[in-house]
């Protein structure tokens, strides 16, 4: 009996409700959108409902919400100082959204929304456009001093400024690709190693080896939980660092 498996089948988008067509492209409410709505619901549950009692001695849910809030507030303060407080809603929302979506992806048979590049790139584009728009609004043309490294002889600037600009443009790309690649690679690796167990069990005498990939799968699952939380944290931290450039441009 030959069992075949497609490790990237899990990332397929399945339209749930069709909303019509634009050209040949179908517009649909996919399971990805459903997971995003579910994530927003869970975040609302954690933040709004859990803190509605506003008790001085927090309950279980309230202390969970407070831990998340304090954690992100600390991270933001370290990266941007006092001026960064106004970005707290943005960074906190991004962190919670990415974290909850990553953790949703860890539920068996579920779908990892953040393993789609367009989703992570959308979030990264939001961050970088906030940086550019806020930077230009606050500092005007002085914001573009970000691209001119100081203490460099004039002729070198002709080469260094384009490099700095490309480096800046590469930020949303690296921000989105990092999250996307981590989630994609992790989920594919888990699927493949889990499939090794099945394949070895079906391979006659070789089935004595089947516990090995099983242990590896368990270890990978633990690692993936770590990656899910870590990548959300990295996303929030890098967002804060980029926002710092908008607040204090010019090096």
């Amino acid at each position: 009996m030959a069992v075949t498996i497609d490790p990237i089948e899990q990332f397929e988008l399945k339209p749930l409700v069709s909303l019509g067509h634009i050209g040949h492209q179908q517009l649909a409410f996919t399971q990805s959108a459903l997971y995003m709505f579910a994530a927003v619901g869970v975040i609302a549950l954690i933040t709004i409902v859990a803190t509605s009692s506003r008790s001085i001695v927090p309950g279980r849910m309230q202390s969970l919400a407070e831990i998340f809030y304090e954690f992100i507030a600390d991270t933001l303060h370290q990266a941007t100082g006092d001026g960064g407080k106004r970005f707290m809603p943005l960074v906190f929302s991004l962190f919670m959204f990415v974290l909850i979506l990553n953790l949703f992806g860890m539920i068996p048979y579920s779908f990892a929304v953040t393993s789609h590049l367009i989703v992570t790139f959308g979030l990264a584009a939001l961050v970088i456009s906030t940086v550019v728009i806020f930077g230009v609004m606050k500092h005007g043309t002085h914001f573009f001093g970000l691209f001119v490294p100081s203490g460099v002889p004039k002729p070198l600037l002709a080469i260094l400024v384009p490099i700095e600009i490309i480096s800046f443009i590469s930020r949303p790309i690296s921000l989105s690709v990092r999250l996307f690649a981590n989630m994609l690679a992790g989920h594919i690796a888990m699927k493949i190693f889990a499939f090794f167990v099945v394949q070895l069990l079906l391979a006659g005498a070789w089935s004595v080896l089947s516990p090995l990939p099983l242990f590896l799968t368990i270890a990978l699952t633990a690692l993936e939980f770590l990656v899910a939380a870590l990548q959300a944290y990295v996303f929030a931290t890098l967002t804060a660092i980029y926002l710092n450039d908008a607040l204090h441009p010019g090096h």
Partner: protein
């Protein structure tokens, strides 16, 4: 005993210790000040310390590098399309993107240690 006598013999006992204390306080302040730029520079090197595992660091560095090349490529393609300089924009900007990728990696890995320091010196 001898040390005690020497201290007791000091008629103006309160003032020397006070100035000594304030000197010590100033020394502590300068020490803290010296520490502070490091703490401020810390966020810029954050991605490096974040990759708790070697795998995470490898992932971070490779994405930084690839992102630089991709950004250069996209920019070159756009320049070619807008100005009609068919292959040259892509060639030049792809190479610059390559440099930017290496630059990104050096910055994230903290290889170019001079840069954040220089930034701190200029900010005040």
């Amino acid at each position: 005993m001898n040390g005690d006598d020497a201290r007791g013999g000091n008629g103006t006992e309160g003032t020397p210790t006070d100035s000594e204390l304030s000197a010590r306080l100033r020394r502590l302040e300068t020490q803290i000040e010296r520490k502070r730029p490091q703490a401020a520079a810390d966020p810029s090197t954050r991605p490096r310390t974040n990759g708790s595992s070697a795998l995470g660091q490898a992932m971070t560095l490779s994405t930084e590098f690839v992102a630089g090349v991709i950004a250069g490529g996209i920019l070159g393609w756009i320049v070619d399309h807008v100005f009609g300089t068919k292959p040259w924009g892509l060639i030049v900007l792809l190479m610059l993107g390559f440099v930017a990728g290496v630059y990104n990696v050096m910055r994230v890995s903290g290889f170019s240690g001079a840069r954040p320091e220089r930034r701190d010196r200029q900010e005040p």
